[in-house]
């Protein structure tokens, strides 16, 4: 009976009410969006033996500012515990997003969903592990730390699904609100640059020697980045402002290969198809696509195939990874936050690093900042393990 009433809630909406991005380009969505508009690039050469024996390009957070900003937050909450870098990033990100809302994070009707691929993985390093308890490297512990800091009574829901974690976390949060279990869900996610991740991608030969070039003819691999992001979803709209709502979301597996995407873009195609079906939209209604766009030869080619298979080859597409790099568990969240900001400003960002189309299907990659009325947009994500995800968002008038 309960489920029947759930299905009948056709007027039920899930609203995007606040967001935050903490990255090399700034500590709020606004700062990041402004920097992106100015064409600033967060990817710089990092020459630090703590990450890798040789210099490499990546998008890193300003450690000094992180420390200062976090000190203010710790003072506000009178919490003098020893937090890791990632914990500081996530706690600050949640705080900033939360500060723009009336939501009570300590309420039983507020859930926290955490998206991360590797969490506090740097604590596996011998010199760092000494300062923290053994289990601090485990992802559930990271969730517990975030939840406890803000006195949230619910067990933090943690998703770790490679590079689709962020989009999957938003999709999951929307379903949780739709089911009536919670009124508000704080989706937060992040990953840090670490020796673990940098050496792993280096061994894969998948890092570009320069800032990455999504969808470009000369693209030669991805750039890594570190970031935290937060998106707050609610069953109640923001008063007196134009609202953006969640329309549909899905994930799908290629069932093809664990470290390379499907040649026919099968999983991505299915994820988009199901997200559009839930949104009750067709391809013609999509105004703009935020791609995963890692700038690896295979990923971008696969995405062009998925987009073309849906007949969306003329819809403007961008990727912001040429600026912020691939931020793993944060990627889906910060890229959705930027997409929402693009919609609020009816302004599409350019794909930094892109010059000439170099994918097998002739899709429409944005190479300059472009004004356009953005009502409905699509976000794509793909990752290791053959995983793919998509989500559709719309303005309501």
């Amino acid at each position: 009976m309960e489920e029947k009433s759930w299905l009948n809630r056709i007027d039920f909406m899930v609203y995007f009410i606040s967001d935050n991005i903490i990255s090399s380009l700034g500590f709020s969505t606004q700062e990041n969006f402004d920097s992106l508009l100015k064409g600033e690039i967060g990817i710089k050469t990092i020459d630090d033996i703590n990450y890798y024996p040789e210099p490499f390009p990546a998008s890193a957070i300003d450690e000094k500012r992180l420390k200062e900003e976090f000190q203010k937050l710790a003072t506000k909450y009178s919490n003098n515990s020893n937090f890791t870098k990632l914990e500081k990033m996530l706690l600050l990100s949640v705080n900033d997003a939360l500060s723009k809302t009336e939501i009570d994070i300590a309420s039983g009707k507020t859930a926290i969903v955490l998206s991360t691929t590797k969490g506090n993985i740097d604590l596996l390093e011998m010199k760092k592990s000494k300062n923290y308890e053994h289990e601090r490297v485990l992802l559930w512990k990271l969730g517990e730390i975030i939840g406890k800091f803000y006195h949230n009574p619910n067990e933090v829901i943690i998703l770790s699904n490679a590079c689709i974690s962020g989009v999957l976390a938003i999709n999951t949060a929307a379903m949780i609100i739709n089911s009536g279990q919670y009124d508000n869900v704080i989706v937060t996610g992040g990953d840090i640059l670490s020796k673990f991740v940098v050496s792993g991608f280096m061994s894969f030969l998948s890092l570009s020697p320069t800032a990455c070039k999504p969808f470009d003819k000369n693209r030669d691999g991805l750039s890594l980045g570190e970031a935290a992001g937060t998106i707050i979803l609610s069953n109640s709209p923001i008063i007196k402002e134009q609202n953006i709502v969640f329309k549909g979301g899905s994930s799908a597996n290629d069932a093809n290969h664990i470290s390379g995407p499907s040649r026919t873009a099968e999983g991505s195609f299915i994820a988009i198809k199901k997200a559009m079906k839930e949104a009750e939209m067709d391809s013609k209604q999509i105004n703009h696509i935020s791609a995963h766009g890692t700038a690896t030869p295979y990923n971008d080619d696969m995405e062009s195939i998925a987009i073309e298979r849906h007949g969306m080859q003329n819809i403007p597409v961008n990727s912001i990874k040429g600026t912020l790099g691939h931020t793993l568990g944060a990627a889906g969240i910060i890229e959705t936050a930027i997409l929402l900001e693009e919609m609020r400003h009816n302004t599409m960002l350019k794909t930094t690093g892109f010059q000439e189309i170099g994918v097998s299907k002739p899709i429409n990659i944005l190479n300059k900042i472009t004004k356009k009325e953005l009502k409905t947009c699509l976000k794509m994500a793909s990752g290791f393990g053959g995983s793919n995800a998509a989500l559709v968002v719309s303005k309501i008038y």
């Binding site: 489920e3 691929t117 485990l138 770790s160 061994s203 994930s251 290629d254």
Partner: protein
Amino acid sequence: MKELFITKYCHIKNNKVFVDGTLVFSDEEADSLKSFAKSLYRNLKPSYNKFFKMDEISKLGFLAAEVLLKDVDLSAYAEEEISIVLSNSHSTLVTDLNHQETIEDYNNFFPSPSVFVYTLPNIMIGEISIRHKLRGENAFFIVENFNSELISNHIKNLFLTHKSEAFVGGWVNQSEDDFEAFLFLVTDKGNTPHNDFEINRLHNLIP
């Protein structure tokens, strides 16, 4: 409106394999997941070469799925209607430690892509998807302890939003000194209703 049932379930625990609560295999002598996985593979004979390049926890998840889906006909469902929703507490800790060992010291630095790729828990979902041609929804949750409510709610939500018709759900965990898998199949067939209480009851059948 169709209802969901727990169609079949299996446990791998304490070097034993149980299907629907009945013991079907054991190897008391295995002293690690590595050796147990090897002997269970020999018993099941899937003739699947990709198995040998997997990390230990993916082998555990793969073998649990072999046991669960053996003699199960899923042809009534489209590939994209069958989803996988898994969970554990240690993510890929043992494999992470293996990768860390190759990078801790720059005088002995040999990171390997074939180890690194397995340092994500959802890779096992990928391996199971490839083996059984499952193209539905994916999710890997991390929880301190087995949480039947989290998994059953997610499955229910996917079903009610018409994203999936059949599900492989459960828990596949490897810590530094133990391993355990509990998988269940959810479809519109069966006698045990799919809910949080029943999943918890079945999980606890094997102490």
